[in-house]
């Protein structure tokens, strides 16, 4: 009878003469990394499939007469590994010499110069001299898309770009054509990239073969200041590192993998910062004089608004305050305080994009029900309802796909139209908005078999249907977590900070009646409409055309054009503060640049309050955030996480939210990958990409 031996739990090997132990199944290259021994490689990239294309990681192993690539060799019992033997050193030298046979001497002009992996490797492991004297094969540079340019001569064929596009983003836009020395990277369909235009391929490229049209030939890496902040666009809250020179943002990426998105950014995060330098940015306060908006000084504009506010307040008039989905938590908190204690009104609202209030209420009494970003990568199963994640929540889509690739997570997609998740989902269903709850019953059995479930739902699930969804989830008998999808960078923070008439910060019922956003615009008695970073009059007019309108914005929006006073506001990239993402994690904003003439919304509130003679407290971001930590339930976050640029989870309320929330007002703007609300218009990049949403999802 054969005795079955248990698989070994530890592997003994010898590395450079030292005895080491490791887990079974460890890749040789990972082992050396753990031990701090460098084995150079180009094509090996953690998280993506193995390629063994570049042959840089060749090492000597006793079991093989030839050198083996460390990136595909698994350490086995008794293995004797040499990473610095003369043979290995010579092999590296030769590999680099080969890579350089047709490589141009472009370093002085190449965008990658200074942060190029090939430069570094040649410096450290290279031969110093080339023996090739023949003329180098050269192909001209070609644009692949409005943002991606490809220089075949510099390409070392590591396939990182191909893999990040296919495996990472699920787009599969890049491939390899031709053979041998003529091999090069090319779009898979036609000669142009019809893709997400995320630029991930550019950043992952170890050399300067893929370059970005917005950054190329502008500066050099060491000339920039690198400022870590949070993306100003959607609610996913990617951390982005802005490269700044001369008060101008030159590029954005997150190569250090810090933050909850690691290296992920979509087109808006990587290229969509250009709105910040748009020539239409407002740079001076404006006051309506003789029917026209005319530039005036700050003191004059502040005095005019303060006088009007005091007058209306004294006369017991009606204020309506429209807050933003993008301003920082500090600004939101200060604004609602301004409204409630300074102006004595509860008429404050913003364009609600997800029904977080009902979700929190429906989950009262239960612990750990709101998912964090990390849960998306770890959950065993996820259910997406009524949202095209790849379009509207690119990071969430990326995390789910990564989870499926690495952990075989089972994804269920219930959407009105085809979505990218279809390709790998365990089940998909085409269900019209509003019919999801009924359709879910069909999946009950299947879902109940999952060990756990994470439910992400869009704006079609709100109010009563959201309560039904929670009932459904809780009746499955498995641990279920939820994410209420919201639209913009601080949509979640707007609700948490009480920018709705029914709630004070921290989901505390306000107990006072107040006007909602449509009610304000429909109120013919409204005296003052104060709009902060929003555009409510984009497609409609207000019932009282005589109302005094004050607008704080970056641009002269339709609402600002109608205003009596306009204050030029600083953008998210120009201020300090915090924002809360869709999964309730707080992250830091850092001021990277400054636009002349603007002030942050927080400063505008502070100065206005002072001008009116109100006592609203210090308006520095730090002081206000301290106040938030003390007063807002769930926001007593760990400061070191924030200070180091991390994402600090908020622990939301756990109890009944005793209010009638206006779920019917919840409405997502339905932004796509290439739009960002009213900011779209001011981003040249977003306007130049050729794709139309929907085209991306045609089956290949």
């Amino acid at each position: 009878m054969a005795t079955t031996t248990a698989p070994p739990t530890v592997i003994n090997a010898k590395l450079n003469g030292q005895d080491i132990q490791t887990k079974p199944g460890t890749l040789l290259i990972n082992l050396t990394k753990e031990l701090g021994i460098e084995v150079p490689a180009f094509c090996y990239y953690e998280g993506f499939s193995l390629q063994a294309a570049c042959r840089m990681c060749l090492v000597q192993v006793n079991s093989s007469p030839k050198l083996l690539p460390g990136c595909t060799t698994i350490v086995t019992e008794g293995m004797v590994i040499e990473t610095e033997s003369p043979l290995v050193v010579e092999a590296r030298k030769s590999m680099l010499e080969f890579l350089l046979t047709n490589h141009p001497l472009d370093c002085p002009v190449c965008d990658k110069g200074g942060e190029c992996e090939l430069q570094d490797m040649v410096f450290k492991y290279g031969a110093g001299e080339s023996r090739f004297v023949d003329i180098k094969h050269h192909e001209p540079e070609r644009p692949f898309s409005p943002v991606v340019y490809y220089d075949p001569a510099r390409c070392i064929l590591c396939y990182r770009c191909v893999r990040v596009c296919d495996e990472g983003y699920g787009v599969n836009a890049l491939g390899v054509v031709n053979r041998g020395v003529l091999s090069e990277i090319a779009p898979n369909r036609g000669d142009q990239l019809n893709c997400d235009e995320c630029g991930a391929c550019i950043d992952i490229c170890p050399v300067g073969a893929l370059t970005s049209n917005t950054y190329r030939y502008k500066t050099r890496p060491w000339e920039m200041k690198h400022v870590g902040t949070t993306c100003a666009h959607c609610s996913n809250g990617c951390k982005t590192t802005l490269g700044v020179r001369n008060d101008e943002i030159m590029r954005a990426n997150n190569r250090d993998s810090s933050g909850l998105n690691e290296e992920f950014l979509c087109i808006k995060g990587r290229f969509g910062f250009d709105f910040n330098h748009h020539p239409d940015r407002l740079q001076s306060p404006m006051l309506r004089i003789d029917g026209d908006l005319q530039p005036v000084s700050w003191s004059k504009a502040l005095a005019a608004v303060a006088a009007k506010f005091n007058e209306v307040k004294a006369a017991g008039g009606k204020f309506g305050i429209v807050a933003s989905n993008r301003t920082s938590n500090e600004e939101n908190y200060y604004l609602q305080k301004f409204a409630r204690t300074g102006l004595g009104t509860n008429n404050i609202d913003h364009a609600r994009t997800g029904d977080v209030v009902t979700l929190v209420d429906a989950l009262s009494g239960k612990q750990g029900k709101l998912a964090t970003m990390a849960d998306l990568y770890q959950t065993k199963a996820a259910l997406v309802i009524g949202s095209d994640l790849a379009q509207q929540h690119p990071l969430l889509a990326y995390e789910l796909r990564r989870n499926w690739r690495h952990h075989q997570a089972r994804i269920y997609a219930m959407t009105p139209g085809p979505v990218r998740e279809d390709k790998y989902a365990a089940a998909t269903a085409r269900v019209a908005f509003g019919e999801e709850i009924a359709a879910l019953e069909g999946w009950r059995e299947q879902l109940a078999k999952e060990p756990e479930l994470l439910i992400l739902f869009g704006d079609s699930i709100k109010g009563a249907s959201l309560r039904q969804l929670v009932d459904f989830g809780e009746s499955l008998g498995i641990p279920v977590k939820y994410v209420a999808l919201v639209d913009y960078a601080n949509s979640r923070g707007a609700i948490d900070m009480g920018l709705v008439p029914e709630l004070h910060p921290g989901f505390v019922p306000s107990g006072q009646p107040g006007l909602t956003l449509p009610e304000m615009l429909d109120d013919s008695q409204l005296d003052v409409l104060w709009v902060v970073g929003a555009n409510p009059l984009a497609n409609r007019s207000q019932a009282n055309p005589k109302a005094f309108v004050v607008v704080q914005d970056l641009f002269l929006t339709a609402t600002a054009a109608r205003a009596d006073v306009v204050f030029p506001a600083a953008s998210a990239y120009e201020k300090k503060g915090t924002v809360t993402n869709v999964t309730g994690e707080v992250q830091r904003l850092t001021a990277a640049v400054k636009t002349m003439g603007t002030k942050t919304d927080l400063e505008i509130f502070g100065l206005l309050g002072k001008e009116m003679g109100l006592e609203l407290g210090i308006w520095s971001p730090d002081a206000v955030f301290n106040e938030i930590r003390q007063n807002v339930r769930g926001y007593n976050v760990t400061m070191p996480i924030l200070a180091t640029g991390g994402a600090a989870p908020t622990t939301p309320v756990n109890g009944k939210v005793n209010v009638e929330t206006r779920s019917d007002l919840v409405h997502s703007a339905g932004d796509t990958l290439f739009t960002s609300g009213s900011m779209t218009k001011y981003s040249q990049v977003l306007n130049t990409v050729a794709e139309r949403p929907g085209q991306l999802y045609k089956p290949v």
Partner: protein, 168 residues
């Protein structure tokens, strides 16, 4: 006896010294007549910089920023721009749209010249750059660039100046 030896050795020393003096009197003078006459330079003298052109009359500088990185007093300021078919300024993909050296700070160490991969920046022999107004000590590219050689197909400098250098 001792006195005689001393006298003889003194006379010998004087003869030797005067020999050198008279010998030198017959050599051409090394003393510079500056500022009454033009100064003489060693070839390697490090004076105000000159930005060179290549054999086609294009600017050699490709705006790689290496000189600025090497500069210990941080006095080189560059703004890069991309060459196009319509407007080709340098031989590479990129050229220096703005290239300033702040002579208030330059210590004429020559590190920039050493760093330049294209031999674009060199030390000229001009050293008379003192000024009563420090703002005139920031030299722009226009001032440092070598004049185009006659007969070379170089671009008229005006076409680039009108391209708009930003006012930093």
């Amino acid at each position: 006896m001792a006195n005689l030896t001393e006298i003889l050795s003194a006379a010998k020393a004087i003869t030797k010294g005067m020999g050198i003096t008279f010998g030198e009197m017959l050599q051409p003078a090394l003393t510079e007549a500056y500022p009454d006459g033009p100064p003489q330079f060693q070839e390697r003298y490090r004076g105000a910089h000159v930005l060179k052109r290549d054999e086609n009359g294009l600017e050699k500088c490709v705006a790689c920023f290496l000189c600025a990185a090497a500069c210990p007093s941080d006095c080189i300021y560059i703004e890069a721009a991309e060459n196009t078919d319509q407007l080709r300024i340098s031989g590479g993909e990129r050229y220096a749209q703005v290239y300033n050296i702040d002579y208030n700070r330059c210590i004429f160490c020559g590190y920039c010249v050493e760093a330049c991969p294209t031999d674009a920046i060199t030390h000229g022999h001009d050293f008379e750059i003192a000024s009563y107004d420090t703002s005139t000590l920031i030299y722009r590219k226009e001032k440092m660039l070598e004049a185009p050689q006659a007969g070379k197909a170089s671009l008229a400098y005006d076409s680039q100046a009108s391209n708009g250098t930003s006012g930093h």
